[in-house]
């Protein structure tokens, strides 16, 4: 506007301004507004040929909604199970002491836990991303009377590989309100795995009274690790994924007779799904993994590839392996203290963490920690030498476990190995 605009008398300004505004509002309102209900017309039809797809309609609601309500063929109490859906057939091993129930609705696999009528565990498969990770986690939290987590807090939750994709591990305690919000059970616990993918999403959930759920964590882990598609491909997780689990929670997944499983009872069944492939120890290029490359120290023998591990090396009775996790993987102190827990060692404080050795690793900082076995962990390895490179997007963990004398003798080689790790270009 310009000063040369013809201006009205000042005393009339307010009146005219408001009258103009209301008039304009009236005009606009008269021409606008579709109430969103009432009667409306469909558009004129258009005809076209969809490229790259064939039009098809669903034969049933179950097919339309991706819900298998028809697979009731298996009897209860079977020791193993399988279910077929569009995403492929899934097999599992029912944990000892649990009772497998017939699937119901969205529950692909359904169990009564430890004979407790209130505690249940089930696998759900839904089409697409099923509303996304955040909404599903917060839906579970609302069921157990917990406030929703922010996206940043969810990013901090531990991740692990499960059924060929990343899964988020959750562990909540509170008052159980149930699916419909009508129940009120105090002192309940919910442990679950959520794997949200673009094509379909899988959810494994165990919920019940805290004492029952706590007592059945190991069977839960065994069940999670046992899920596989029957192709012989591994779907087990890795011990380091349970970074933020409670202390009584066993490592999620892993491979039998490995240090990560050392804390399991002697009579514990191996957490190895049937048919897990163990490829030849030396591949054509044994200095490259799926994500990283490295320089192997002299004298180190490459071990068999394991799920969730970038690479495994064996040297003089000790084992060194590299794990990559999404996000912070439970954080620096959380992982170190989890390792301390595995070895029955005293937990570190923030100030002790600050005094640990740092090395250059992945163009950032890696933290080196040495943990010696405590008296309470008789079956655990004697010592652990670890390197942790924790970042917001992904985190790398190098764990070297075995006799302390070997670890000390190989310390320089271990540090060189850690420094040599680099992402594949």
């Amino acid at each position: 506007m310009d000063a040369q605009t013809v201006a009205p008398q000042p005393r009339k300004i307010a009146h005219r301004t408001f009258s103009a505004a209301w008039l304009a509002a009236g005009l606009l309102l008269a021409g606008c507004g579709r109430p969103g209900h009432g009667e409306a017309s469909f558009s004129e039809p258009i005809t076209y040929k969809p490229a790259g797809q064939t039009f098809s309609v669903a034969k049933s609601d179950a097919e339309r909604f991706g819900v298998s309500a028809s697979d009731f063929a298996r009897g209860a109490g079977a020791s193993g199970g399988a279910s077929a859906k569009s995403g492929g057939k899934i097999h599992w091993e029912t944990p000892q002491g649990w009772t497998e129930l017939a699937p119901t609705g969205t529950r692909e696999a359904n169990f009564k836990v430890g004979g407790d009528p209130k505690t249940e565990c089930y696998l759900t498969r839904l089409a697409g991303s099923a509303g996304g990770l955040e909404s599903n986690i917060n839906r579970w939290r609302s069921q157990i009377s917990l406030p929703p987590l922010s996206a940043a807090e969810i990013a901090q939750l531990p991740r692990l590989e499960w059924l060929d994709a990343e899964a988020v591990l959750v562990n909540f305690e509170g008052q159980w309100k149930g699916m419909s919000g009508t129940e009120a059970e105090e002192g309940w616990r919910l442990v679950g795995l959520l794997s949200v993918r673009p094509d379909e999403s899988l959810f494994l959930k165990m919920v019940g009274p805290t004492e029952v759920v706590s007592a059945n964590l190991e069977p839960f882990v065994m069940l999670a690790a046992s899920f596989h598609d029957g192709s012989g491909h591994s779907h087990d997780g890795e011990g380091s994924a349970d970074a933020s689990l409670p202390q009584d929670h066993p490592p999620v997944g892993g491979v039998s007779a490995k240090p990560a499983d050392a804390a399991l009872p002697a009579d514990h069944p191996p957490i190895t799904p049937a048919g897990t492939p163990v490829p030849a120890a030396a591949s054509a290029d044994n200095l490259r993994g799926s994500t990283f490359q490295w320089q192997a120290p002299a004298g180190w023998q490459r071990g068999a590839d394991k799920s969730m591990r970038e690479v495994t090396y064996l040297v003089e009775g000790a084992e060194c392996y590299v794990t990559l996790l999404g996000g912070t993987g439970g954080g620096l102190l959380g992982n170190i203290n989890r390792w301390c827990g595995q070895l029955g060692a005293k937990q570190l404080t923030e100030s002790e963490l600050a005094s640990l050795q740092r090395i250059e690793m992945l163009e950032g900082e890696g933290v080196i920690v040495k943990i010696l076995r405590g008296e309470s962990a008789a079956g655990a390895p004697e010592a652990l030498l670890g390197a942790l490179c924790v970042r917001d997007d992904r985190s790398l963990f190098v764990k070297f476990v075995g006799p302390d004398s070997v670890l000390e003798a190989q310390r320089a080689a271990f540090l060189d190995f850690c420094r040599s790790l680099a992402p594949l270009q």
Partner: protein, 386 residues
């Protein structure tokens, strides 16, 4: 005539301009704050796409004009005050041109808001499509497959049924279909569940399934809508059904020997060409896992001819009034060797280039105005010296 003069005076008021500009600033500020808590889409709808709104400042509810109303009045104000009532002299030529530029900018915003189509096409390598779908809006689509392999579709827009609920259903009809669709309940975000013996439900259960409403997500793209509908045949026969935005296929119905698919889906548009994703490339920063750039090698197929195009972050494809930008990719947790998908944002905006033209016009106007001011100042200074 007196009334017209009075109206013209009111709408050309400089005070009105000031009030409107202050209101625009206020809406921008409040909308930005609202966005933090409720997400971009919700803020856009409440503060900028609205005629009126109630801003909740703690316990106090403050009624405010919405962005659409303010911009509309500002346009009228600028036309009346900055064009019609302004003296047309050599001295005001630059200002007039500048006002024309600003009016063009507002008009571009209006065209973008009401006449543009905005969505995405997501493809895995090897896939192709001639459709793109909205990020935000839903539609009820009735699709009839034809023997030629084509489909005939008719749709009802989001605005026609979004408020459907108990006591206020939305009846969607057209003569070209042998049935009407009555949307009895619409949920902008919900899950579909089978009704088991242990599951409670306070909403209708249809064929053993029900919809469970969920709170709206902050990122509107992640909300999945659902609706209870009743299909009403011409003979009055009624069939109830549930439609859900994440269904794997449409509901199958037959009327008068014709087969139809009924679906609630993201609003969808047909492109006049087909895009096939041949290759997706992602380059990370050296020795880091952070993407540096990503691009899609696509083949554009139109009327039998094919053309290879690389779409990257700053090099969109412009074709037939559509602009295809490289928007994102996934899955985010993919490892080297995993199959990736590429998401191309697709925009059809008739006023795509208007902001550029507007800025040029505004710049010309300002240069004219300030050049005249400068030359006048130089002349005065020269006269002083003389």
């Amino acid at each position: 005539m007196k009334i017209l003069d009075s109206l013209l005076d009111a709408f050309s008021s400089l005070w009105l301009s000031c009030v409107l500009l202050v209101l625009l600033g206020l809406l921008t500020w409040l909308g930005t704050l609202y966005q933090v808590e409720h997400g971009l889409f919700a803020a856009q709808v409440k503060y900028f796409d609205s005629l009126f709104l109630i801003h909740q400042a703690g316990p106090v509810a403050i009624p405010l004009p919405g962005g659409t109303l303010v911009m509309g009045i500002l346009f009228v104000n600028l036309v009346c005050g900055g064009i019609v009532r302004m003296r047309k002299t050599k001295a005001t030529a630059g200002i007039l041109v500048t006002h024309v530029g600003i009016l063009m900018l507002i008009a571009a915003g209006f065209v973008k808001a009401y006449y543009s189509e905005d969505g995405h096409v997501t493809l895995y390598e090897g896939q192709r499509s001639n459709l793109f779908e909205s990020y935000h809006h839903w539609e009820v689509a009735i699709t009839e497959p034809l023997p030629s392999g084509e489909v005939r579709e008719t749709v009802a827009a989001h605005e026609d049924f979004f408020a459907a609920g108990p006591g206020q259903s939305a009846l969607l009809r057209t003569k070209s279909l042998p049935f009407d669709v009555e949307v009895t309940r619409f949920y902008p975000n919900c899950d579909v569940f089978p009704k088991g013996p242990m599951v409670g439900s306070d909403v209708p259960v249809v064929d053993g399934y029900f919809l469970q409403a969920r709170p709206l997500e902050k990122d509107n793209e992640t909300n999945v809508a659902g609706a209870y509908v009743t299909l009403i045949g011409r003979d009055g026969a009624r069939r109830e059904a549930i439609l859900h935005g994440q269904s794997r296929a449409p509901l199958n119905v037959e009327y008068d020997g014709r087969r139809f698919g009924v679906a609630l889906r993201r609003e969808q548009w047909v492109m006049p060409f087909t895009v096939a994703l041949e290759n997706f490339e992602k380059e990370d920063h050296p020795r880091m896992m952070m993407p540096k750039s990503f691009s899609s090698d696509v083949v554009v197929v139109e009327e039998g001819s094919e053309r290879k195009v690389k779409i990257s972050m700053n090099e969109p494809l412009r074709q037939e009034g559509l602009v295809l930008y490289q928007a994102s990719w996934g899955p985010s947790n993919a490892r080297p060797g995993d199959r990736l998908f590429s998401t191309l944002a697709v925009v059809r905006n008739p006023a795509d280039q208007y902001p550029l033209y507007s800025c040029i016009v505004i710049a010309i106007g300002l240069v004219m105005h300030f050049s005249m001011k400068l030359s006048k100042h130089i002349r005065h200074e020269a006269e002083k010296v003389a």
